[in-house]
Protein backbone atom coordinates (compact mmCIF):
# COMPACT_ATOMS: atom_id res chain seq x y z
CA UNK A 1 0.00 0.00 0.00
CA UNK A 2 1.22 3.49 -0.78
CA UNK A 3 2.09 5.60 2.22
CA UNK A 4 -0.04 8.65 3.00
CA UNK A 5 2.86 10.47 4.59
CA UNK A 6 6.44 9.83 3.55
CA UNK A 7 9.23 11.69 5.32
CA UNK A 8 12.77 11.14 4.05
CA UNK A 9 16.15 12.30 5.30
CA UNK A 10 14.79 15.18 7.36
CA UNK A 11 17.47 17.17 9.17
CA UNK A 12 17.29 20.31 11.22
CA UNK A 13 19.52 21.99 13.73
CA UNK A 14 19.27 25.31 15.53
CA UNK A 15 22.69 26.81 16.25
CA UNK A 16 24.28 23.40 16.43
CA UNK A 17 21.52 21.80 18.48
CA UNK A 18 20.11 18.96 16.41
CA UNK A 19 16.33 18.64 16.62
CA UNK A 20 15.95 16.26 13.67
CA UNK A 21 18.56 13.77 12.53
CA UNK A 22 17.97 11.80 9.32
CA UNK A 23 14.31 11.28 10.08
CA UNK A 24 12.61 8.58 7.99
CA UNK A 25 8.94 8.14 8.72
CA UNK A 26 6.08 6.73 6.71
CA UNK A 27 2.43 6.43 7.65
CA UNK A 28 -0.04 4.09 5.94
CA UNK A 29 -3.73 4.92 5.44
CA UNK A 30 -5.68 4.21 8.60
CA UNK A 31 -2.56 3.69 10.62
CA UNK A 32 -2.25 5.22 14.09
CA UNK A 33 1.33 5.78 15.13
CA UNK A 34 2.43 7.07 18.51
CA UNK A 35 5.50 9.26 18.73
CA UNK A 36 7.10 8.77 22.11
CA UNK A 37 10.25 9.92 23.79
CA UNK A 38 11.42 12.15 26.63
CA UNK A 39 10.96 15.92 26.65
CA UNK A 40 13.28 17.58 24.19
CA UNK A 41 13.49 14.48 21.99
CA UNK A 42 12.26 16.54 19.04
CA UNK A 43 8.70 15.23 18.73
CA UNK A 44 6.96 18.59 18.42
CA UNK A 45 9.85 19.85 16.28
CA UNK A 46 9.23 16.95 13.92
CA UNK A 47 5.56 17.96 13.67
CA UNK A 48 6.66 21.53 12.96
CA UNK A 49 9.02 20.34 10.23
CA UNK A 50 6.47 18.04 8.61
CA UNK A 51 3.69 20.63 8.67
CA UNK A 52 5.93 23.43 7.41
CA UNK A 53 5.85 25.69 10.46
CA UNK A 54 9.64 25.32 10.52
CA UNK A 55 11.80 24.79 7.43
CA UNK A 56 14.15 21.79 7.52
CA UNK A 57 17.82 22.01 6.56
CA UNK A 58 17.36 19.05 4.26
CA UNK A 59 14.94 16.24 3.52
CA UNK A 60 11.63 15.71 1.79
CA UNK A 61 8.00 15.36 2.83
CA UNK A 62 5.44 13.74 0.55
CA UNK A 63 1.69 13.43 1.01
CA UNK A 64 -0.05 10.75 -1.04
CA UNK A 65 3.03 10.49 -3.23
CA UNK A 66 3.23 14.21 -4.00
CA UNK A 67 6.03 16.32 -2.59
CA UNK A 68 4.73 19.05 -0.28
CA UNK A 69 8.00 20.33 1.17
CA UNK A 70 8.05 23.38 -1.10
CA UNK A 71 4.61 24.41 0.13
CA UNK A 72 3.93 26.84 2.93
CA UNK A 73 2.26 25.73 6.15
CA UNK A 74 -1.29 26.70 5.14
CA UNK A 75 -0.83 25.19 1.68
CA UNK A 76 0.21 21.86 3.20
CA UNK A 77 -2.94 21.92 5.29
CA UNK A 78 -4.94 22.46 2.12
CA UNK A 79 -3.10 19.55 0.53
CA UNK A 80 -4.48 17.35 3.30
CA UNK A 81 -2.08 17.55 6.22
CA UNK A 82 -3.88 18.66 9.39
CA UNK A 83 -2.39 19.21 12.80
CA UNK A 84 -3.30 20.25 16.32
CA UNK A 85 -1.25 22.07 18.92
CA UNK A 86 0.17 21.08 22.25
CA UNK A 87 -1.17 24.34 23.69
CA UNK A 88 -4.45 24.03 21.76
CA UNK A 89 -4.39 27.55 20.25
CA UNK A 90 -8.13 28.04 19.92
CA UNK A 91 -9.61 31.39 18.90
CA UNK A 92 -10.70 32.84 22.26
CA UNK A 93 -12.99 35.50 20.80
CA UNK A 94 -15.11 32.91 19.00
CA UNK A 95 -17.65 30.38 20.15
CA UNK A 96 -17.02 26.65 19.93
CA UNK A 97 -19.05 26.38 16.73
CA UNK A 98 -17.33 29.38 15.13
CA UNK A 99 -13.92 27.91 16.03
CA UNK A 100 -14.86 24.89 13.96
CA UNK A 101 -16.36 26.91 11.12
CA UNK A 102 -13.05 28.75 10.59
CA UNK A 103 -11.72 25.30 9.65
CA UNK A 104 -14.17 24.91 6.74
CA UNK A 105 -12.55 23.77 3.51
CA UNK A 106 -14.36 26.43 1.52
CA UNK A 107 -15.61 29.84 2.63
CA UNK A 108 -17.42 31.76 -0.10
CA UNK A 109 -19.03 33.98 2.56
CA UNK A 110 -15.64 35.55 3.19
CA UNK A 111 -15.13 36.96 -0.27
CA UNK A 112 -15.52 40.70 0.21
CA UNK A 113 -17.97 40.87 -2.69
CA UNK A 114 -20.15 38.28 -0.99
CA UNK A 115 -20.08 40.31 2.20
CA UNK A 116 -22.17 42.87 0.35
CA UNK A 117 -24.23 40.52 -1.79
CA UNK A 118 -24.53 37.16 -0.09
CA UNK A 119 -26.20 34.93 -2.65
CA UNK A 120 -27.93 31.61 -2.37
CA UNK A 121 -24.68 29.73 -2.92
CA UNK A 122 -23.17 31.37 0.17
CA UNK A 123 -26.23 30.60 2.29
CA UNK A 124 -26.36 26.98 1.14
CA UNK A 125 -22.67 26.59 1.82
CA UNK A 126 -23.02 28.10 5.29
CA UNK A 127 -25.84 25.72 6.14
CA UNK A 128 -23.75 22.73 5.02
CA UNK A 129 -20.63 23.90 6.86
CA UNK A 130 -22.70 24.38 9.99
CA UNK A 131 -24.19 20.90 9.72
CA UNK A 132 -20.72 19.44 9.30
CA UNK A 133 -19.43 21.33 12.33
CA UNK A 134 -22.40 20.22 14.43
CA UNK A 135 -21.85 16.60 13.37
CA UNK A 136 -18.24 16.80 14.50
CA UNK A 137 -19.31 18.44 17.76
CA UNK A 138 -21.70 15.55 18.25
CA UNK A 139 -18.88 13.07 17.77
CA UNK A 140 -16.71 14.74 20.36
CA UNK A 141 -19.69 15.04 22.70
CA UNK A 142 -19.81 18.84 22.71
CA UNK A 143 -23.09 19.54 20.92
CA UNK A 144 -24.44 21.32 23.97
CA UNK A 145 -21.43 23.63 24.06
CA UNK A 146 -21.74 24.83 20.44
CA UNK A 147 -22.67 28.37 21.43
CA UNK A 148 -20.27 28.62 24.38
CA UNK A 149 -17.16 30.71 24.35
CA UNK A 150 -14.18 28.35 24.05
CA UNK A 151 -12.36 29.95 26.97
CA UNK A 152 -15.30 29.03 29.22
CA UNK A 153 -14.82 25.30 28.56
CA UNK A 154 -12.77 23.02 30.82
CA UNK A 155 -9.29 22.28 29.53
CA UNK A 156 -10.07 18.74 28.36
CA UNK A 157 -13.00 19.95 26.27
CA UNK A 158 -10.84 22.68 24.76
CA UNK A 159 -8.45 19.98 23.60
CA UNK A 160 -11.37 18.21 21.95
CA UNK A 161 -12.41 21.42 20.20
CA UNK A 162 -8.84 21.69 18.91
CA UNK A 163 -9.11 18.23 17.39
CA UNK A 164 -12.63 18.85 16.12
CA UNK A 165 -11.46 22.01 14.38
CA UNK A 166 -8.69 20.10 12.61
CA UNK A 167 -11.23 17.47 11.50
CA UNK A 168 -13.16 20.13 9.58
CA UNK A 169 -10.40 20.01 6.97
CA UNK A 170 -11.02 16.37 5.99
CA UNK A 171 -7.25 15.80 5.89
CA UNK A 172 -5.55 12.63 4.74
CA UNK A 173 -3.06 12.79 7.55
CA UNK A 174 -3.61 14.09 11.05
CA UNK A 175 -0.82 15.09 13.43
CA UNK A 176 -2.01 15.30 17.04
CA UNK A 177 0.32 17.05 19.47
CA UNK A 178 -0.32 15.80 23.02
CA UNK A 179 -4.09 15.47 22.66
CA UNK A 180 -4.43 13.79 26.07
CA UNK A 181 -2.35 16.07 28.28
CA UNK A 182 -4.75 17.39 30.90
CA UNK A 183 -7.67 15.42 29.50
CA UNK A 184 -9.65 13.08 31.71
CA UNK A 185 -13.03 11.44 32.22
CA UNK A 186 -15.53 11.75 29.41
CA UNK A 187 -13.20 13.82 27.26
CA UNK A 188 -10.65 11.01 27.45
CA UNK A 189 -13.11 8.47 26.11
CA UNK A 190 -14.33 10.89 23.44
CA UNK A 191 -10.78 11.52 22.26
CA UNK A 192 -10.13 7.79 21.90
CA UNK A 193 -13.37 7.30 20.01
CA UNK A 194 -12.66 10.15 17.62
CA UNK A 195 -9.13 8.97 16.81
CA UNK A 196 -10.36 5.43 16.15
CA UNK A 197 -13.14 6.69 13.92
CA UNK A 198 -10.85 8.96 11.91
CA UNK A 199 -8.38 6.12 11.39
CA UNK A 200 -11.19 3.79 10.34
CA UNK A 201 -11.95 6.28 7.56
CA UNK A 202 -8.43 5.80 6.21
CA UNK A 203 -6.76 8.85 7.69
CA UNK A 204 -3.19 8.31 8.83
CA UNK A 205 -2.77 9.56 12.38
CA UNK A 206 0.43 10.39 14.21
CA UNK A 207 0.21 11.21 17.90
CA UNK A 208 2.78 12.81 20.18
CA UNK A 209 1.81 11.71 23.66
CA UNK A 210 3.26 11.09 27.10
CA UNK A 211 0.27 9.10 28.24
CA UNK A 212 1.62 5.63 27.53
CA UNK A 213 -1.67 3.89 28.32
CA UNK A 214 -3.41 5.97 25.67
CA UNK A 215 -0.68 5.23 23.13
CA UNK A 216 -0.79 1.53 23.95
CA UNK A 217 -4.56 1.45 23.66
CA UNK A 218 -4.82 3.25 20.42
CA UNK A 219 -1.67 2.98 18.37
CA UNK A 220 -0.80 0.22 15.94
CA UNK A 221 2.82 1.15 16.28
CA UNK A 222 5.11 3.35 18.31
CA UNK A 223 8.08 5.38 17.18
CA UNK A 224 10.70 6.17 19.80
CA UNK A 225 12.57 9.45 19.44
CA UNK A 226 15.59 10.61 21.35
CA UNK A 227 17.76 13.64 20.78
CA UNK A 228 16.28 14.36 17.36
CA UNK A 229 16.62 10.84 16.01
CA UNK A 230 14.25 7.92 15.62
CA UNK A 231 15.80 5.05 17.60
CA UNK A 232 13.15 2.39 17.19
CA UNK A 233 9.80 1.65 15.62
CA UNK A 234 7.52 -1.25 16.48
CA UNK A 235 4.58 -2.41 18.56
CA UNK A 236 4.17 -0.07 21.53
CA UNK A 237 4.31 -2.90 24.08
CA UNK A 238 7.72 -3.95 22.74
CA UNK A 239 9.10 -0.43 22.92
CA UNK A 240 7.94 -0.12 26.52
CA UNK A 241 9.59 -3.41 27.46
CA UNK A 242 12.89 -2.42 25.89
CA UNK A 243 15.12 -1.59 28.91
CA UNK A 244 17.46 0.67 26.92
CA UNK A 245 14.59 2.85 25.67
CA UNK A 246 13.00 2.95 29.10
CA UNK A 247 16.23 4.17 30.54
CA UNK A 248 16.50 6.90 27.94
CA UNK A 249 12.90 7.89 28.57
CA UNK A 250 13.18 8.19 32.32
CA UNK A 251 16.80 9.28 32.49
CA UNK A 252 19.42 7.95 34.82
Amino acid sequence: MAAVLEVRGLNKSFDGIVVARDIELSLQPGQVVGLIGPNGAGKTSLFNLISGVVKPDSGTVALDGARIDALKFHERVRAGLSRTWQHIRLFPSLTVLDNLLIGSTDYPGERLVNVLFAGKRVRTHNVLAREKALTILGKIGLSAAAGALVSDLPYGQQKLVGVGRALMRDGKCLLLDEPMAGVEGQSYAAMQRVVREVAAQGVAVCIVEHNVAFIQDLCDEGVFMFSGAILARGPVAELIRNPQLTELYFGH
Partner: protein
Protein backbone atom coordinates in the same frame (compact mmCIF):
# COMPACT_ATOMS: atom_id res chain seq x y z
CA UNK B 1 -22.85 78.99 7.50
CA UNK B 2 -19.67 78.45 5.56
CA UNK B 3 -17.82 77.97 8.84
CA UNK B 4 -20.35 75.39 10.06
CA UNK B 5 -20.31 73.57 6.68
CA UNK B 6 -16.55 73.38 6.88
CA UNK B 7 -16.67 71.90 10.37
CA UNK B 8 -19.29 69.33 9.39
CA UNK B 9 -17.17 68.27 6.43
CA UNK B 10 -14.00 68.04 8.52
CA UNK B 11 -15.78 65.98 11.18
CA UNK B 12 -17.35 63.75 8.51
CA UNK B 13 -13.98 63.14 6.88
CA UNK B 14 -12.37 62.32 10.23
CA UNK B 15 -15.17 59.86 10.95
CA UNK B 16 -14.24 58.17 7.65
CA UNK B 17 -10.54 58.23 8.58
CA UNK B 18 -11.12 56.88 12.09
CA UNK B 19 -13.58 54.23 10.90
CA UNK B 20 -11.24 53.00 8.17
CA UNK B 21 -8.30 53.06 10.58
CA UNK B 22 -10.40 51.05 13.03
CA UNK B 23 -10.73 48.42 10.31
CA UNK B 24 -6.94 48.26 9.97
CA UNK B 25 -5.77 48.49 13.57
CA UNK B 26 -8.87 47.31 15.42
CA UNK B 27 -10.38 44.52 13.36
CA UNK B 28 -7.26 43.67 11.37
CA UNK B 29 -4.80 44.05 14.24
CA UNK B 30 -2.36 45.70 11.83
CA UNK B 31 -0.32 48.38 13.54
CA UNK B 32 0.51 51.18 11.14
CA UNK B 33 0.89 54.92 11.49
CA UNK B 34 0.76 55.69 7.78
CA UNK B 35 -2.96 56.50 7.59
CA UNK B 36 -2.48 60.27 6.95
CA UNK B 37 -0.24 59.56 3.98
CA UNK B 38 -2.99 57.59 2.23
CA UNK B 39 -5.31 60.48 3.03
CA UNK B 40 -2.69 62.68 1.32
CA UNK B 41 -2.27 60.37 -1.68
CA UNK B 42 -6.01 60.43 -2.29
CA UNK B 43 -6.12 64.21 -2.00
CA UNK B 44 -3.11 64.91 -4.23
CA UNK B 45 -4.00 62.31 -6.87
CA UNK B 46 -7.53 63.56 -7.24
CA UNK B 47 -6.48 67.22 -7.20
CA UNK B 48 -3.71 66.81 -9.76
CA UNK B 49 -5.76 64.63 -12.11
CA UNK B 50 -8.65 67.09 -12.01
CA UNK B 51 -6.60 70.27 -12.38
CA UNK B 52 -3.67 69.26 -14.58
CA UNK B 53 -5.33 66.57 -16.67
CA UNK B 54 -8.88 67.85 -16.73
CA UNK B 55 -10.35 64.59 -15.46
CA UNK B 56 -13.94 64.91 -14.23
CA UNK B 57 -13.87 65.26 -10.45
CA UNK B 58 -15.82 62.06 -9.61
CA UNK B 59 -13.38 60.02 -11.73
CA UNK B 60 -10.42 61.80 -10.17
CA UNK B 61 -11.80 60.95 -6.73
CA UNK B 62 -12.08 57.28 -7.60
CA UNK B 63 -8.54 57.42 -8.97
CA UNK B 64 -7.39 58.96 -5.68
CA UNK B 65 -8.92 56.06 -3.81
CA UNK B 66 -7.32 53.52 -6.14
CA UNK B 67 -3.86 55.13 -5.87
CA UNK B 68 -4.07 55.06 -2.06
CA UNK B 69 -5.15 51.42 -2.21
CA UNK B 70 -2.37 50.40 -4.58
CA UNK B 71 0.25 52.32 -2.58
CA UNK B 72 -0.90 50.63 0.63
CA UNK B 73 -0.60 47.20 -0.94
CA UNK B 74 2.89 48.12 -2.15
CA UNK B 75 3.79 49.05 1.43
CA UNK B 76 2.24 46.05 3.10
CA UNK B 77 3.24 43.31 0.65
CA UNK B 78 6.99 43.23 1.33
CA UNK B 79 6.69 43.96 5.06
CA UNK B 80 4.12 41.32 5.94
CA UNK B 81 6.28 38.67 4.35
CA UNK B 82 8.75 39.23 7.14
CA UNK B 83 6.63 39.88 10.21
CA UNK B 84 3.84 42.10 11.48
CA UNK B 85 6.25 44.20 13.52
CA UNK B 86 7.96 45.41 10.39
CA UNK B 87 4.75 46.99 9.17
CA UNK B 88 4.93 49.59 11.94
CA UNK B 89 8.55 50.44 11.14
CA UNK B 90 7.95 50.47 7.39
CA UNK B 91 4.82 52.59 7.83
CA UNK B 92 6.81 55.27 9.67
CA UNK B 93 9.29 55.38 6.81
CA UNK B 94 6.50 55.41 4.26
CA UNK B 95 4.63 58.22 6.03
CA UNK B 96 7.72 60.42 6.34
CA UNK B 97 9.19 59.49 2.96
CA UNK B 98 6.15 60.02 0.76
CA UNK B 99 5.38 63.32 2.45
CA UNK B 100 8.98 64.39 1.89
CA UNK B 101 8.60 63.58 -1.81
CA UNK B 102 5.37 65.57 -2.00
CA UNK B 103 7.18 68.50 -0.37
CA UNK B 104 10.05 68.40 -2.83
CA UNK B 105 8.62 67.74 -6.28
CA UNK B 106 7.20 70.49 -8.46
CA UNK B 107 3.94 68.99 -9.71
CA UNK B 108 2.52 68.69 -6.20
CA UNK B 109 3.17 72.35 -5.50
CA UNK B 110 5.92 71.44 -3.04
CA UNK B 111 5.89 72.63 0.55
CA UNK B 112 3.80 75.65 -0.43
CA UNK B 113 0.85 73.44 -1.29
CA UNK B 114 -1.35 72.73 -4.27
CA UNK B 115 -3.88 75.42 -5.09
CA UNK B 116 -6.82 76.06 -7.39
CA UNK B 117 -8.20 72.56 -7.13
CA UNK B 118 -11.39 72.30 -9.23
CA UNK B 119 -14.48 72.42 -7.04
CA UNK B 120 -17.25 69.87 -7.21
CA UNK B 121 -21.02 70.27 -6.79
CA UNK B 122 -20.65 73.59 -4.98
CA UNK B 123 -21.02 75.90 -8.01
CA UNK B 124 -24.10 74.12 -9.31
CA UNK B 125 -25.80 72.96 -6.15
CA UNK B 126 -24.28 74.94 -3.28
CA UNK B 127 -22.19 73.98 -0.31
CA UNK B 128 -24.99 72.00 1.27
CA UNK B 129 -24.82 69.51 -1.62
CA UNK B 130 -21.17 68.85 -0.87
CA UNK B 131 -21.96 68.48 2.84
CA UNK B 132 -24.61 65.94 1.88
CA UNK B 133 -22.12 64.08 -0.33
CA UNK B 134 -19.56 63.84 2.46
CA UNK B 135 -22.17 62.71 4.97
CA UNK B 136 -23.51 60.12 2.52
CA UNK B 137 -20.01 58.72 1.93
CA UNK B 138 -19.43 58.76 5.68
CA UNK B 139 -22.57 56.74 6.36
CA UNK B 140 -21.70 54.33 3.54
CA UNK B 141 -18.19 53.80 4.96
CA UNK B 142 -19.54 53.23 8.48
CA UNK B 143 -22.07 50.69 7.19
CA UNK B 144 -19.50 48.97 4.98
CA UNK B 145 -17.00 48.48 7.81
CA UNK B 146 -19.78 47.34 10.14
CA UNK B 147 -21.04 44.87 7.55
CA UNK B 148 -17.54 43.48 6.94
CA UNK B 149 -16.89 43.16 10.68
CA UNK B 150 -20.11 41.24 11.26
CA UNK B 151 -19.90 39.01 8.22
CA UNK B 152 -18.14 35.66 7.87
CA UNK B 153 -15.18 37.79 6.84
CA UNK B 154 -15.29 39.52 10.22
CA UNK B 155 -15.31 36.17 11.95
CA UNK B 156 -12.20 35.16 10.05
CA UNK B 157 -10.56 38.50 10.94
CA UNK B 158 -11.27 37.77 14.60
CA UNK B 159 -9.70 34.33 14.30
CA UNK B 160 -6.65 35.67 12.50
CA UNK B 161 -6.15 38.35 15.14
CA UNK B 162 -6.55 35.81 17.94
CA UNK B 163 -3.94 33.39 16.62
CA UNK B 164 -2.34 33.64 13.22
CA UNK B 165 -0.54 30.29 13.42
CA UNK B 166 -3.72 28.47 14.40
CA UNK B 167 -5.44 30.29 11.53
CA UNK B 168 -2.79 28.95 9.13
CA UNK B 169 -3.14 25.47 10.64
CA UNK B 170 -6.67 25.44 9.23
CA UNK B 171 -5.36 26.09 5.74
CA UNK B 172 -6.02 29.79 5.88
CA UNK B 173 -3.77 32.44 4.39
CA UNK B 174 -3.51 35.39 6.78
CA UNK B 175 -1.42 37.29 4.27
CA UNK B 176 -4.27 37.79 1.77
CA UNK B 177 -6.61 38.82 4.51
CA UNK B 178 -4.19 41.43 5.87
CA UNK B 179 -3.60 42.72 2.36
CA UNK B 180 -7.33 43.11 1.75
CA UNK B 181 -7.98 44.79 5.09
CA UNK B 182 -5.07 47.20 4.71
CA UNK B 183 -5.94 47.96 1.09
CA UNK B 184 -9.60 48.59 1.83
CA UNK B 185 -8.88 50.75 4.89
CA UNK B 186 -6.25 52.80 3.07
CA UNK B 187 -8.42 53.16 -0.03
CA UNK B 188 -11.17 54.66 2.13
CA UNK B 189 -8.63 57.09 3.60
CA UNK B 190 -7.72 58.04 0.02
CA UNK B 191 -11.37 58.71 -0.74
CA UNK B 192 -11.57 60.97 2.32
CA UNK B 193 -8.53 62.82 0.97
CA UNK B 194 -10.16 63.33 -2.42
CA UNK B 195 -13.31 64.67 -0.76
CA UNK B 196 -11.16 67.04 1.30
CA UNK B 197 -9.27 68.37 -1.73
CA UNK B 198 -12.27 69.34 -3.84
CA UNK B 199 -14.01 71.15 -1.01
CA UNK B 200 -11.19 73.18 0.51
CA UNK B 201 -9.44 73.41 -2.89
CA UNK B 202 -6.06 73.91 -1.29
CA UNK B 203 -3.84 71.25 0.21
CA UNK B 204 -0.41 71.42 1.79
CA UNK B 205 1.86 68.60 2.94
CA UNK B 206 1.73 69.75 6.57
CA UNK B 207 -1.96 68.87 6.77
CA UNK B 208 -0.96 65.23 6.44
CA UNK B 209 1.91 65.17 8.92
CA UNK B 210 2.56 62.37 11.37
CA UNK B 211 0.68 64.38 14.06
CA UNK B 212 -2.50 63.49 12.15
CA UNK B 213 -1.66 59.88 12.75
CA UNK B 214 -1.77 60.39 16.51
CA UNK B 215 -5.03 62.27 16.13
CA UNK B 216 -6.66 59.41 14.20
CA UNK B 217 -5.24 56.81 16.57
CA UNK B 218 -6.57 58.81 19.51
CA UNK B 219 -10.03 58.92 17.95
CA UNK B 220 -10.07 55.14 17.60
CA UNK B 221 -8.60 54.39 21.02
CA UNK B 222 -10.61 56.95 22.96
CA UNK B 223 -13.79 56.14 21.07
CA UNK B 224 -13.39 52.39 21.33
CA UNK B 225 -11.61 49.96 19.03
CA UNK B 226 -13.50 47.27 17.16
CA UNK B 227 -16.84 49.01 17.54
CA UNK B 228 -19.00 50.85 15.04
CA UNK B 229 -19.69 53.82 17.28
CA UNK B 230 -16.24 54.16 18.84
CA UNK B 231 -14.48 55.91 15.94
CA UNK B 232 -17.55 58.10 15.35
CA UNK B 233 -17.67 59.24 18.97
CA UNK B 234 -13.88 59.64 18.99
CA UNK B 235 -13.83 61.74 15.82
CA UNK B 236 -16.69 63.95 17.01
CA UNK B 237 -15.06 64.49 20.38
CA UNK B 238 -11.57 65.17 19.14
CA UNK B 239 -12.68 67.46 16.36
CA UNK B 240 -15.05 69.31 18.65
CA UNK B 241 -12.46 69.85 21.40
CA UNK B 242 -9.97 71.82 19.28
CA UNK B 243 -12.85 73.87 17.88
CA UNK B 244 -13.91 74.65 21.43
CA UNK B 245 -10.36 75.64 22.30
CA UNK B 246 -10.31 78.18 19.47
CA UNK B 247 -13.14 80.01 21.22
CA UNK B 248 -10.83 80.59 24.20
CA UNK B 249 -8.95 83.15 22.06
CA UNK B 250 -5.55 81.72 22.87
CA UNK B 251 -2.61 82.92 20.77
CA UNK B 252 -2.18 80.68 17.67
CA UNK B 253 1.40 79.89 18.65
CA UNK B 254 0.27 77.76 21.59
CA UNK B 255 -2.89 76.32 19.98
CA UNK B 256 -0.99 73.65 18.05
CA UNK B 257 1.05 72.39 20.99
CA UNK B 258 -2.06 72.35 23.19
CA UNK B 259 -3.84 70.12 20.68
CA UNK B 260 -0.86 67.77 20.57
CA UNK B 261 -0.79 67.60 24.36
CA UNK B 262 -4.51 67.02 24.43
CA UNK B 263 -4.31 64.03 22.07
CA UNK B 264 -1.36 62.41 23.80
CA UNK B 265 -2.82 63.12 27.22
CA UNK B 266 -6.16 61.61 26.27
CA UNK B 267 -4.55 58.42 24.97
CA UNK B 268 -2.55 58.07 28.21
CA UNK B 269 -5.56 58.74 30.43
CA UNK B 270 -7.68 56.24 28.50
CA UNK B 271 -4.97 53.60 28.43
CA UNK B 272 -4.84 53.72 32.22
CA UNK B 273 -8.45 54.26 33.20
CA UNK B 274 -10.56 53.06 30.32
CA UNK B 275 -8.52 50.98 27.87
CA UNK B 276 -11.66 49.77 26.13
CA UNK B 277 -12.52 53.35 25.12
CA UNK B 278 -15.81 55.21 25.52
CA UNK B 279 -17.68 52.55 23.57
CA UNK B 280 -16.39 49.20 24.80
CA UNK B 281 -16.15 46.30 22.35
CA UNK B 282 -17.47 42.91 23.28
CA UNK B 283 -14.99 40.13 23.86
CA UNK B 284 -16.92 37.81 21.62
CA UNK B 285 -17.28 38.12 17.90
CA UNK B 286 -20.95 38.41 17.01
CA UNK B 287 -22.18 37.98 13.51
CA UNK B 288 -24.95 39.92 11.86
CA UNK B 289 -27.16 36.90 11.28
CA UNK B 290 -27.63 33.23 11.98
CA UNK B 291 -27.68 31.53 15.32
CA UNK B 292 -23.95 31.28 15.81
CA UNK B 293 -24.10 34.25 18.12
Amino acid sequence: MEYIDGIIIIVGLYVILATSFNLIIGYGGLVSIAHPVFFALGAYTSAILARNFGLPVPLAMVAGMVVALVASVALVLPTLRVSGDYLLIASIGFQLGVLEIIKNVRFTGGAGGYTNIPPFLIRDFGREAYVALVLAVMVAVILLVRLVARSDYGRAMSAMRDDELAFASLGRNAMWMKLAIFGLGSGLAGLAGALYAHYFRFITPEQFEILQSSAILTMVVVGGMRTTWGPIVGALLLEALPQAITFLNLPPSILGPIQGLLFTGLVLVFMFFRPQGLVPAENVWRGGGGETR
